[in-house]
């Protein structure tokens, strides 16, 4: 107990409350507000840090690694799903897209864990996070097309949704503003983006616990044991690739751990919305439940400490 980070305890509280069918609830508008705050704060903090001398060093290889991971991870995910579970093609492609993309809150929890262990990630990682959100969606669409899905009709709408997704725009925009603003931004915004960060993260993880457990209870019959196993093994596989990529791009131990967190995490905001439009035949009950109610809790509770330990060993902190 001593070692479990505070935000994770709030996640557990929410999860337990919802499993026990408590009526504890976070209003939708608050969930959205908290997630806007987290994206803004992560972006601005990263931008401020990268503006410091030497802050951008090593950005390019990491960015490239992130883009590649996002593009490529859906492929083994799709193969595994089609090979080992009875999932239909569009749903398998949609699920695969979630695992190539990333989860902002898993990253935030990862940052908190990395900092609690006395390490720091490279300041440019929020940019890598933003870069990893979308490529996986394109791969998922290609996989589904190959699988025979009709081309989506509303192509411009979809492209907009994919490329100008709100979380990417806010994350990257805040990052740029922090970068441009530098110390000015730090002076003006630090009580907001630093002081409140942990508290907001706790409240948000409480909400995620509630949502995850409620999603688990509403899980469709389609969600059988093999899918759950996928939802537990795929993050390990992704995180493994992330570790390797982090080491190859020459990141610090904290950075390697966060790269593993990114690659091991699955999207539950940007990608579901895009998939609902692009692949309407895919079952949202499957992909939302897997990413929100299986993989997210796994990463927050077990994955992150594991990836951190491995990163410390391998990158020799």
């Amino acid at each position: 107990m001593e070692m479990i980070p505070i935000p994770v305890l709030f996640f557990a509280l929410g999860f337990a409350a919802a499993l026990a069918r408590s009526d504890l609830a976070v209003p939708d508008a608050l969930s959205k507000a908290l997630s806007l705050y987290l994206m803004l704060a992560i972006g601005v903090k990263g931008g401020i840090a990268i503006a410091a001398p030497g802050g951008a060093e090593g950005l390019l290889p990491a960015l490239l690694a992130g883009l590649l991971l996002s593009f490529l991870l859906p492929v083994p995910a799709y193969a595994a799903l089609r090979g080992t579970t009875g999932l239909d093609r569009p749903t398998a492609a949609a699920v695969a897209g979630h695992y190539g993309s990333v989860s902002v809150v898993t990253f935030a929890a990862g940052m908190a864990a990395v900092e609690a262990s006395g390490l720091r990630g490279e300041p440019f990682l929020p940019a890598v996070l933003a870069a990893m959100e979308t490529p996986a969606i394109l791969t998922a669409l290609l996989l589904a097309r190959r699988g025979g899905a009709r081309a989506p009709k509303d192509r411009t709408r979809l492209l907009r949704e994919v490329l100008l997704n709100g979380s990417v725009v806010l994350l990257l925009g805040s990052f740029l503003i922090g970068w441009i603003g530098g110390t000015r931004a730090a002076a003006a915004l630090s009580p907001f983006v630093e002081g409140l960060f942990q508290g907001v993260l706790c409240l948000f993880l409480l909400d995620m616990g509630l949502l995850a457990a409620r999603q688990l209870r509403a899980a469709p019959k389609a969600l059988d044991a093999r899918l759950v196993v996928f939802g537990l093994l795929m993050p390990l596989f992704g995180a493994g690739c992330g570790l390797a990529a982090g080491l190859l791009s020459g990141l610090s131990p904290g950075g390697v751990a966060l790269m593993a967190v990114l690659a091991g995490s699955a999207s539950y905001i940007a990608v579901p919305a895009a998939m609902r439009l692009a692949l309407p035949e895919a079952d949202p009950g499957v992909y939302v439940t897997l990413s929100l109610a299986v993989t997210f809790p796994f990463n927050v509770v077990l994955g992150i400490p594991l990836y951190l330990t491995l990163a410390q060993r391998l990158a020799g902190a």
Partner: protein
């Protein structure tokens, strides 16, 4: 004096609402109204909003239209909605100012 019209009521995924109103526009409807939905159950199971992606949100689209427009909408709906979560119902109503409703 009142004029007979059709009242079309469509419950559909929120992410697809714009496609439905585009359809109504292209069928010649003079207007429509979108109402929020808290939760719903149907063939595809329970749909309760509030997930962060909005994927399980429904909306209700209401459209008052002439019989001719209503028929076009009903004819086109299969292609648009097909097997996706959605229901469509039609009933009779009356309006005062006919010029407001195509």
């Amino acid at each position: 004096m009142t004029h007979p019209r059709k009242r079309i009521e469509i419950v559909v995924e929120a992410v697809r609402a714009e496609q439905v109103t585009d359809l109504l526009d292209s069928c010649g409807a003079s207007g429509w109204t979108i109402l929020p939905v808290i939760a719903g159950r149907g063939r595809t199971g329970m749909r309760r909003g509030g997930d962060l992606a909005g994927v399980f949100d429904n909306v209700l689209v209401l459209c008052i239209a002439s019989e001719a427009v209503a028929e076009k909408v009903l004819a086109a709906r299969e292609e648009l909605l097909g097997a996706r979560p959605a229901i469509v119902s039609v009933s009779d109503c009356a309006v005062i100012r006919a010029e407001h409703f195509g």
